[in-house]
Amino acid sequence: MKSAVVVFPGLNRDRDMIAAIEKIGGTPPAIVWHKDAELPDVDLIVIPGGFSYGDALRPGAIAARSPIMDVIRERAERGVKVLGVCNGFQILTEAGMLPGVLMRNASLRFVCREIKLKVANANTAFSNRYADGQIIRCPIAHHDGNYFADAETLQSIEDNGQVVFRYAEGTNPNGSLNDIAGITNAAGNVLGLMPHPENLIEPEHGGEDGRGIFAGLLT
């Protein structure tokens, strides 16, 4: 399994993501700067978290319109898996590769803590190491994770099983509709996720609940 981590100016979770992929998959990912002319031929493209372009205009808005996103979109259409975490999720929605939008947290506060996630669909490439309904621990760190989509879009992603992770009942940290924490595209090969599974992959992190996402993709 070959992978690439795409880096935009202002991201800050790229090193954690690179380390997680290498530790779990056994092979370091290619690291691709957003201005690089070529994206290597890989099976998995990861957009990590942070604050690309300082969140100018809207989180992810500027990165989503950079030329490398056209390449990523084209690879995704050919079936390559794409994982966007935190700012990566925001970039994928702004690029139109995932439905909906991530708005300012309803509390208006930046939230940085551990939450519990419920696996809403274990039948995806990103979640098949978990069981439906399983509760896992995961850290979050974001200011704009409040998932919104119009009623018709929301109904359609629910009906299609595109909601893969939800904040466990009563723990929604940001006001997301239907407690949505992570969704796929209709084809199921692009996942956006607000929490940071890459920060809970070894005992030194205090737990390994995040490993499953990478193990399912990389091993």
Partner: protein, 80 residues
């Protein structure tokens, strides 16, 4: 040519920042405030001279970047 673009949240989209501003205005004693919705203003200077084609180009800018049309509306006005 100068243009002003106003981007606002669509009706029905939750606006926690607007609500916080509304609360602050009330706490300052502006008792008659019923509701506040916040948004963005972009002042754009263009080298174009034809208002019609300039407006079209500005609308295209809104569709492609300045507004997220999932949650936002926009208006374009040539102001000088």
């Amino acid at each position: 040519m100068k243009a002003r673009i106003i981007v606002t949240l669509k009706n029905g989209v939750l606006d926690p920042q607007g609500q916080a501003i509304e609360g602050s205005l009330k706490s300052l004693g502006f008792a008659g405030v019923d509701s506040v919705r916040q948004g963005k203003v972009f002042d754009v200077e263009l080298s174009a001279t034809d208002p019609g084609s300039a407006t079209q180009e500005l609308e295209s800018m809104c569709e492609k970047l300045l507004a997220n049309t999932v949650i936002e509306n926009y208006t374009v006005e040539i102001i000088g």
